[in-house]
């Protein structure tokens, strides 16, 4: 049996958007599947040292939110929702995003930053968490993802 492999693209930086990518990657490793995560655009926030602990829940335009969209634009709403979600995750004993990234690193899942997004946001490798292995281009991504299933989140 050939070695299974997944390449996960994390392109959004909401708390509710980053977790699925990380849990999928970790789940792959636990199942003995090779996994790497490519963080691009706002997904980059998840591996940016100054942002990783302050990810918010995307409320506007989210039909699953229990409050009307007009209210989601009010000041403080997003951080309120993020706080509530973090509280819920704490109750469930879910690891924080930072801890999840560390677990992924320990589990042998590789984390990569998107070169173009880094330039767009004016970030350098030093701005990223230490578990990020490398800044790569989309071409590098496809080279690495050869033979892998690609998951876009």
């Amino acid at each position: 049996m050939t070695q299974r492999k997944v390449a996960i693209v994390c392109s959004k930086g909401g708390l509710d958007e980053v977790y699925p990518a990380l849990i999928l990657a970790n789940g792959a490793r636990m199942a003995g599947i090779e996994a790497f995560v490519f963080f691009t655009f706002y997904g980059l926030d998840a591996i940016t040292e100054s942002k990783v602990d302050h990810l918010h829940v995307n409320m506007a335009g989210n039909p699953s939110m229990p409050i009307p969209t007009v209210l989601s634009g009010l000041p403080g709403m997003e951080s309120l929702a993020a706080t509530m979600m973090k509280k819920k995750m704490e109750d469930l004993d879910l690891p924080s995003v930072r801890e999840m990234l560390d677990i992924l690193d320990g589990a042998g899942a590789e984390l990569y930053a998107c070169h173009l997004a880094m330039e767009m946001f004016g970030r350098t490798k030093d701005d990223l968490i230490k578990q990020c292995k490398e800044v790569i281009t989309v071409g590098d991504f496809y080279d690495m993802a050869e033979g892998a299933q690609i998951i876009f989140t």
Binding site: N26, P95, A107
Partner: protein
Amino acid sequence: MHRTENANPTEAEARLARLESQLDRVLHHLEAMEQRQRRLDDLVEVGIPIARQATGVVGGHLQALDDQGYVSLATAMKGGMDRVLSSYTAEDFELLAQNLVGILDVVRSLTQPEVLAIADEAAQAIRDAGSAKPVGMMAALRASSEEDVQRGMAVALQILRQVGHAAKGQRPGLARKTRRGPAAGMDPRLASRLAPSRPPAAEPAQEASSSKIAAVSSTKRAAAPASSSPAPAEASAVEGEGGDWSRELALAIAAAEGVELTPVAWSIIDYARKTYQESGSSPNIRALTRGMGIDTREVYACFPKAPGRTLARIAGIPKPAGCL
């Protein structure tokens, strides 16, 4: 002859005297009878009006009871009893008797004053249902900020939770089984606990010990159905397997998996088995790293491919549940 004539008058006198005394007694009886008759007449004279009055009073009471609805209630109750008797069998009554304590418990809980007060309030709302106006999403949202509505929702959710929890243990057709089968009359809670069928027992131990390959394959066979079935069944299936667990078996399985058991690996196996025996669930990787104070890397180093599952297989415990 004269003597006899003389003697005769004396005899006649004696007879007369006897007759007289008899007549006296008869007269005496007559007198007593007359007296009784007179008393009876008095009684009738006095009694009839009283009896009439009494009948009137009884009739009045019955009328009053009828006015209050007791009579129709009694009639209705009799009708109800007739229906109960015709639609329930002796078997049902027997069951009823056996579950009486449970039923009384339920009735007692339902008739607590606070429960009744809440039920009364709810009934009031239902009585007023005709005058309720249809509401939209926004009104529902607005209402959800009211404290009373919030408390009501909490209660409703709790009820749903309890009902769901109770329903989880039930299986379709259980009610029939408890009626017909040998378990008839058993407490439903106990019946529902016994209802889920146990999976087939794990492979016998002697097969496992006959050869290392057999040991490994039997473990795999036992693990396969266990991993796909829900927790309680899984626990019982693997517990039997866990009872046969030995370090030699672990070594054999590890060899078949291509895993070398280092001292760290052994400490992880021991910790996982201990956790499973104490808590009834297998630890996931995070629980191992946090509980043992080791790094995720070390776990992956010991069990490189699918550590959670490999460890569970070697340690003879179910594979850990959950996404992490």
